[in-house]
């Protein structure tokens, strides 16, 4: 049971990182990124390949983030003229492309069998519980650091300029803001955070396959950011932990419903997730912790 709780905390932390990534691109710059699972997958495969070739964990994480940045820059470059729904569709396609490449390029990714035996630091030395404790703590620490960094960005003039791009990119240009540069930077940083989440996931699970990077993850993360509050990093983190708690709770909830089979339990969980999204949007359309307008400093009297 303890291991299960620690597992949930670690997965919650990984979801929190993904939510922070989405919140930066979507909540910050208004770039709808439905390809989040793709960046997540790129990070996971990048570190699996790098550490598989003998690199230590730190290098693997750096390679994953670098791969995320490159993919983010490429996607931004390809979608510069797209906004809103159109950008969403293209990024969704990107996520699927990553999954399909992972599925079919067997020489690189071992296809549907996935990559196993990925470096899992501490697993042998610490034992199961110790390993889970260490990773729950480590991932939570990474979430804390990334959250602090992104919160700082959010409150800085950079965040202000990014918001302007989100609200009206043409007007942001007239306000003197380099719209293109801001978009590239926000999207690339967002992709790097998502890739970091993927890398941590790969090392924690020590096994990845294309099945782990289904678009459903992206939907969960959108649910997390929407529930937590779009445009506010702490909201994204809170939303992610809530979603993981909810997903795990429905595991037990659905099991107590009498007379349904395991497959139906899984379907019922998905239905509950959909229902909860509807409820959140209906009851708190701006999320639990909505975006705030920072107050102006008082004039010296």
């Amino acid at each position: 049971m303890l291991s299960y709780l620690l597992f949930s905390v670690t997965i919650g932390g990984i979801y929190a990182l993904l939510s922070l990534a989405l919140n930066l691109a979507w909540g910050g710059a208004g770039l709808v990124n439905l390809g989040l699972a793709g960046f997540f997958g790129i990070g996971a495969y990048a570190t699996a390949l790098a550490t598989g070739a003998g690199a230590p964990l730190a290098i693997g994480l750096c390679v994953a983030m670098a791969a995320g940045v490159l993919a983010g820059l490429a996607i931004t470059g390809l979608t510069l003229r797209l906004r809103d729904d159109y950008l969403a569709i293209v990024t969704l396609g990107f996520g699927e492309i990553v999954r399909l490449v992972a599925l079919n390029e067997r020489w690189l990714t071992n296809g549907a069998d996935g990559m196993s035996g990925i470096l899992a630091p501490g697993k042998a030395a610490l034992g199961v519980v110790g390993f889970n404790q260490a990773w729950a703590g480590g991932v939570t620490l990474v979430v804390l650091l990334v959250w602090l960094l992104l919160r700082r960005l959010d409150q800085s003039p950079f965040g202000r300029a990014l918001r302007a791009v989100r609200e009206d990119q043409e007007l942001a240009g007239f306000a003197g803001k380099p719209v293109l540069r801001l978009k590239y930077q926000a999207f690339a940083l967002s992709a790097a955070v998502a890739a970091l989440a993927g890398a941590l996931y790969a090392h924690y699970q020590s096994y990845i396959s294309p099945d782990h990077f289904q678009p459903l993850i992206t939907i969960y993360i959108f649910l997390a950011v929407t529930a937590g509050g779009i445009g506010r990093p702490v909201g994204a983190v809170l939303g992610a932990y809530c979603v993981v708690a909810f997903l795990e709770a429905t595991r037990f909830l659905a099991a107590v419903v009498p007379g349904i089979e395991a497959v139906q339990v899984a379907a019922l969980r998905e239905a509950l997730v959909g229902l909860s999204l509807l409820l959140v949007l209906h009851l708190r359309p701006k999320g639990i912790l909505p975006e705030r307008i920072p107050p102006a400093p008082k004039a010296p009297s």
Binding site: L149, S156, A161, D168, G176, P297
Partner: protein, 275 residues
């Protein structure tokens, strides 16, 4: 300072560096812009004197808005050139123009819906080190100093425009007139050398209109050149030192309001030809 009341002869109107003898701030030279084969601008050219208020008038469809969009960097001209303070700025992106001191306002007040009045003012501040991705999380000394400097200016400008009580209000909560004032305020934050105003009085009540006119004159007194597109002739007469009349994508006449108003071609363009 302006001698010509004759129909603008292209050569003299597009001669750079001068506008009726005065130093020019903006030169539009033979600018053409077509939409699907239709020439909205058909070789328009004129020079605007520095430090003055110029009115850009003309009947509907004359190409005033297109010209404003070309000069402000929203549209690229098909041919011709635009020079600002003697330097070629043809086709430069709006944020580059803002950095050079050329900004614009919009006919329908535009804003960033989820940002407050204060944030709008701060946003327009130029040269912000905190906008760089690598500097932003560090919140360096220079970035903080610049932010404090801009905040001080923003508060002063808000006071001048009597927007102080509304600093934390989102712009969506403001009245149409207050939005116009925010637009003027944020444009000022950009430290402009020249402001292009697209119908600053459209949809504004007379008392606020007078207030806006007074603000514009005060800005001009500080040395900022203004160019306004406006249909209100009384306002043009009251504010503008210099008037450019456009018709059918070309410059028709330039001169003082009286010279322009007395011109037969202008009357014809506005009222139609007598048959």
């Amino acid at each position: 300072m302006v001698q010509t009341s004759l129909p603008a002869d292209r050569a003299s109107a597009s001669r750079p560096g001068t506008a009726g003898g005065a130093e020019s701030v903006l030169d539009v030279v033979d600018v053409t812009r077509r939409f699907f084969g239709m020439a909205a601008l058909d070789g328009v050219g004129f020079s605007l004197p520095a430090g003055r208020i110029t009115g850009l008038i003309g009947p509907n469809g004359a190409g005033k808005s297109t010209l404003l969009n070309v000069v402000s960097g929203l549209l690229r001209p098909d041919a011709g050139a635009v020079r600002f303070q003697g330097e070629d700025i043809t086709g430069l992106k709006p944020h580059r123009l803002a950095a050079r001191g050329l900004t614009r306002t919009f006919q329908i007040a535009r804003g960033f819906p989820k940002m407050s009045v204060f944030q709008h003012l701060m946003l327009y501040g130029p040269r912000q080190p905190g906008e760089r991705l690598l500097q932003a999380p560090m919140w360096s000394r220079t970035a903080r100093d610049r932010e404090a400097e801009l905040a001080e200016r923003a508060l002063a400008i808000a006071g001048r425009l009597r927007l102080s009580p509304l600093l934390d209000a989102p712009v969506t909560a403001l009245s149409g007139g207050q939005k116009k004032l925010v637009e003027i305020g944020r444009t000022l934050m950009a430290e402009p050398r020249m402001i292009l105003l697209d119908e600053p009085m459209a949809g504004v009540n007379p008392s606020l209109g007078a207030e806006i006119a007074a603000h514009l004159q005060a800005l001009n007194a500080e040395g900022i050149s203004l160019c306004l597109v406006e249909h209100d002739m009384a306002l043009i007469r009251q504010l503008c030192h210099h008037v450019v009349v456009m018709a059918e994508g070309r410059t028709l006449v330039t001169g003082s309001f009286e010279q322009v108003a007395a011109n037969a071609e202008v009357q014809e363009a506005y009222l139609g030809r007598r048959h």
